[in-house]
């Protein structure tokens, strides 16, 4: 039996969910792989949800909202887009970004809804089943996704993405606007940093480790690991437990 993807869709009540209903009323057929969670606004979709969906073994996640300018709650879809883009950037670090999609579908676009779902289902079908369910090697992938989920639940990334529109679209007290490019640079670096920080945290949650251990498991330079550990220490999330020989061992101070 060939692979049939299992896809999760977040549909906003006013546009995309209505568009999906219209496809139904018009009897426009599309593949039965999608399972819909209704939210009032696409802006409700917390980045954490997308990671949860992927971690639970779903092969694809799609978020659909109103066309820009049409959001029932005025600006929700703009926020949805920012959050989605953040998730996408994280997933690009592990070549996973093709398993998620953001689309604008209005309440009158029944045919388009069906088209989008068909297209996305085909895309996922070609990618194959989500790798996180399978072998030992893919256990690492699962860990990385978990680290990303932790990162998007963390203060720093949420503050950055929550303030993105304000920073890039409005002038500050001095009448200056932060150019999008400058913000993008800061943002991209933050994504990378927070991913590794939370990966480190996840590893330390499993057991205490040295810098060398961590560098090996996570596959980055020990100096980079140390930089991250210092930040994490400053945040009160890790500490040095003891020293074995001349090697410091770090532990996580987080529960669970």
């Amino acid at each position: 039996m060939s692979f049939e993807p299992k896809i999760l869709g977040f549909l906003c009540n006013w546009c995309s969910y209505a568009g999906a209903d219209l496809a139904g009323v018009s009897r426009i057929q599309y593949p039965p792989n999608i399972r819909v969670i209704r939210v009032m606004c696409s802006g409700r979709v917390d980045p954490e949800f997308i990671f949860e969906g992927l971690l639970t073994g779903l092969d694809g996640v799609i978020v659909m909202g109103c066309h820009p300018g049409d959001c029932h709650y005025l600006e929700g879809n703009y926020e949805a887009e920012k959050k989605f883009n953040m998730v996408k950037k994280f997933l690009e670090l592990i070549n996973f970004e093709n398993r998620i999609r953001l689309e604008w579908v209005s309440a009158s676009e029944g045919a388009r809804f069906a088209e989008v779902v068909t297209d996305f289902t085909n895309q996922i079908r070609e990618l194959g089943p989500s790798p996180i369910n399978k072998s030992e090697a893919d256990k690492r992938l699962r860990e990385k996704l978990q680290a990303m989920k932790m990162a998007v639940s963390n203060y720093r990334m949420r503050a950055l993405v929550g303030r993105e529109r304000d920073i890039t679209e409005n002038e500050n007290a001095y009448g200056d606007k932060t150019p999008l490019e400058k913000f993008e640079n800061i943002f991209n670096k933050a994504i990378r940093d927070e991913f590794y920080r939370h990966y480190i945290l996840l590893k330390l949650n499993q057991s205490p480790k040295s810098v060398k251990d961590l560098a090996k498991e996570i596959e980055i330079d020990p100096s980079e690991v140390l930089d991250h550990l210092l930040i994490l220490k400053g945040r009160g999330q890790v500490d040095m437990e003891n020293i074995i020989g001349i090697t410091p061992i770090y532990i996580s101070l987080m529960e669970g």
């Binding site: 049939e4 299992k6 999760l8 009540n13 969910y17 209505a18 999906a20 209903d21 496809a23 139904g24 009323v25 009897r27 426009i28 057929q29 599309y30 593949p31 039965p32 399972r35 819909v36 969670i37 209704r38 939210v39 009032m40 606004c41 802006g43 409700r44 979709v45 917390d46 980045p47 954490e48 949800f49 949860e52 969906g53 971690l55 639970t56 073994g57 779903l58 029932h72 709650y73 005025l74 600006e75 929700g76 926020e79 959050k83 069906a114 639940s153 203060y155 949420r158 503050a159 993405v161 929550g162 303030r163 529109r165 304000d166």
Partner: protein, 564 residues
């Protein structure tokens, strides 16, 4: 953060699978679906019905709630967008809080769209029902919040729009304060002479308003009065006014902004000097006094508008020019008047007629294009005539510039005070250009007249009345019920809040603020439940009722098969 309320409650879910005639039942086995539902954790009862939305179906639900002591209900049938209110009402009649209900869409988004794959449609329905069951287990009862409404209105601005709004509100039965910055009411009407298109005198119309207002005993007018300070939200505003040095505090339920606009003074344009080159408003003064000495007049339309600085069309300038030209011709039929225009803006029935009237009165019209604007020099206007394809010179002793209406300087102050937005030209920005043209996105505040956009008298009056209707419908009720599925910051999460204010920034309705103690307050009356604050909260402290993180995550996990 775990919500401890649920843990001790014995959750008893009832699942009602609808056949919807043959729309669902004709493709998949609803009985089997109901059995499957029954096998899920915390499901105390399940059944299948032919038409759950019918009287029979609804009675069946109520019966089952009583017999099986259900405290959560799921209907698996069509779409919540049609029948959710119906089923909420039904369970409410059986004594359950209406928010303890969830809908599973197995028709519009399942059997109707997978007609050739009944097996897969069945599997999908199972998944969706399972998701619904896990969501239902996390649902909480919610109360709609009731707020009191003070049946009093405040209208800011005493021009035609403001007066129309105030008159209508009073006639609807609401005490209304009308405040005006100047010493007298009337706004721009007091500077006008003749009104287009019906050619009556401005004072005639103004007197009509005065006599209407005299009859109203629930209208309180404060002239020479400005607004200092404002606090509160819909139904409950506290406003501090200042009238000639004296402070007046009033409490109102709704506010209408009608502060009008200014006329652009075209300094630096077309050699404007206020003597030989004047504005239409200045020309109006001259016409009022009957003192037109000029023999050759040139009017220039779009003077200072439809360009890079002021990109819009001010809609009333063409009619103003036509009117003043007609009045001028009445005073002296021999005066030569040439109107240089880009497009003549006379839409509709009467206005187009008025254009014809001006032409019949001998006014000459000459078109110019934006890339070759007229040049005003001493006693002569040079303009490129398209039909002759050359520059021509029009001798004149007076040039009248038709300049646009622009936003008032104090729009910014009022916008900040009321927490309402301005658009790129600094006019007030309404909630929706088409469907909510006199509302602000923030509930309880309304806008009308040229404060919103250049428009004529008829429409200013109509907008004032419209704002009175929109404000009136709020003031008509003693209390207002606010949607229960709002956002809130639970007590036990208050210490999580870092005060980062991201929630305040992302809220489209300005429903979140920081109080004097520096704590985040979500004004329930203004919250629309979109969920942006919850999804953005940097400490995940804010909860969105009825769409909580726990509820959504449990649906996701149920789909993935991670069940508990």
């Amino acid at each position: 953060m775990k919500d401890t309320k649920n843990e001790n409650e014995d959750i008893r879910i009832g699942v009602f699978v609808c056949h919807c005639g043959s729309n669902i039942g004709g493709l998949i086995d609803c009985k089997k679906l109901a059995e499957y539902a029954r096998s899920l954790p915390r499901v105390a009862h399940s059944e299948d019905n032919l038409y759950t939305c019918s009287e029979t179906g609804l009675s069946s639900i109520k019966k089952a709630i009583k017999e099986h002591n259900l405290n959560r209900v799921i209907v698996a049938s069509c779409t919540p967008r049609t029948h959710e209110p119906l089923f909420r009402e039904c369970i409410s009649e059986a004594g359950l809080n209406p928010y303890l209900f969830t809908f599973v869409n197995i028709r519009d988004q399942c059997t109707w769209v997978h007609m050739k794959e009944p097996d897969k449609a069945y599997e999908k329905s199972k998944d969706l029902i399972r998701m619904g069951v896990y969501r239902a287990a996390k649902l909480e009862p919610l109360e709609k919040i009731k707020i009191n409404i003070n049946p009093t209105a405040l209208v800011i601005g005493g021009g035609v729009a403001g007066m129309s709004a105030a008159i209508s509100l009073c006639k609807q039965g609401f005490k209304t304060y009308l405040i005006e910055k100047e010493k007298e009411l009337g706004g721009r009407l007091r500077s006008l002479h003749r009104l287009f298109p019906h050619d009556i005198d401005a004072s005639e119309l103004l007197n009509k308003f005065y006599s209407e207002m005299d009859k109203l005993n629930n209208l309180i007018v404060y002239t020479s009065c400005t607004i200092n300070h404002l606090d509160g939200f819909i139904g409950n505003y506290q406003v501090e006014l200042e009238k000639e040095g004296e402070l007046i505090n009033i409490d109102v339920g709704a506010i209408v902004v009608a502060i009008g606009s200014e006329v652009l003074v075209p300094n630096g344009l077309y050699s404007y000097d206020g003597k030989k080159v004047i504005t239409q408003l200045q020309f109006e003064e001259i016409l009022k006094l009957g003192q037109v000495n000029a023999k050759n007049l040139v009017m220039i339309q779009c003077a200072g508008s439809r360009n890079d600085d002021i990109p819009y069309c001010s809609s009333v300038c063409c009619m103003t020019a036509l009117k003043n030209a007609i009045v001028c011709k009445e005073l002296n039929p021999d005066v030569k008047i040439t109107i240089l225009f880009r497009d003549i803006y006379t839409p509709g029935t009467f206005y187009e007629e008025y254009y014809r009237k001006a032409r019949e009165n001998g006014v000459v019209f000459m078109r110019y294009t934006s890339d070759k604007p007229p040049i005003v020099e001493n006693g002569v206007v040079k303009v490129h005539n398209q039909y002759l394809n050359r520059m021509i010179e029009i001798p004149n002793d007076l040039v009248v510039l038709s300049t646009p209406l622009i936003a008032r300087e104090d729009n910014e102050f009022l916008a900040k005070l009321l927490k309402v937005p301005l658009e790129s030209n600094k006019f007030f920005l309404e909630a929706h250009v088409k469907l909510r043209p006199v509302d602000f996105a923030t509930d309880g505040v309304f806008v009308c007249g040229t404060a919103k956009w250049p428009t004529d008298i008829s429409e200013s009056i109509t907008q004032g009345q419209a704002a009175a209707s929109r404000a009136g419908l709020i003031l008509s009720h003693e209390t207002m019920e606010v949607e229960g599925a709002t956002s809130y910051l639970p007590e036990h999460n208050k210490d999580l809040c870092k005060g980062c204010e991201v929630c305040i920034k992302v809220c489209p309705y300005k429903a979140i603020k920081k109080n004097e103690k520096g704590e985040i307050e979500i004004i329930q009356a203004l919250c629309k439940g979109c969920g942006l604050c919850g999804a953005s909260c940097t400490k995940k402290a804010i909860t969105i009722k009825h769409f909580t993180n726990e509820q959504i995550l449990s649906e996701i996990k149920a789909l993935g098969g991670e069940v508990a």
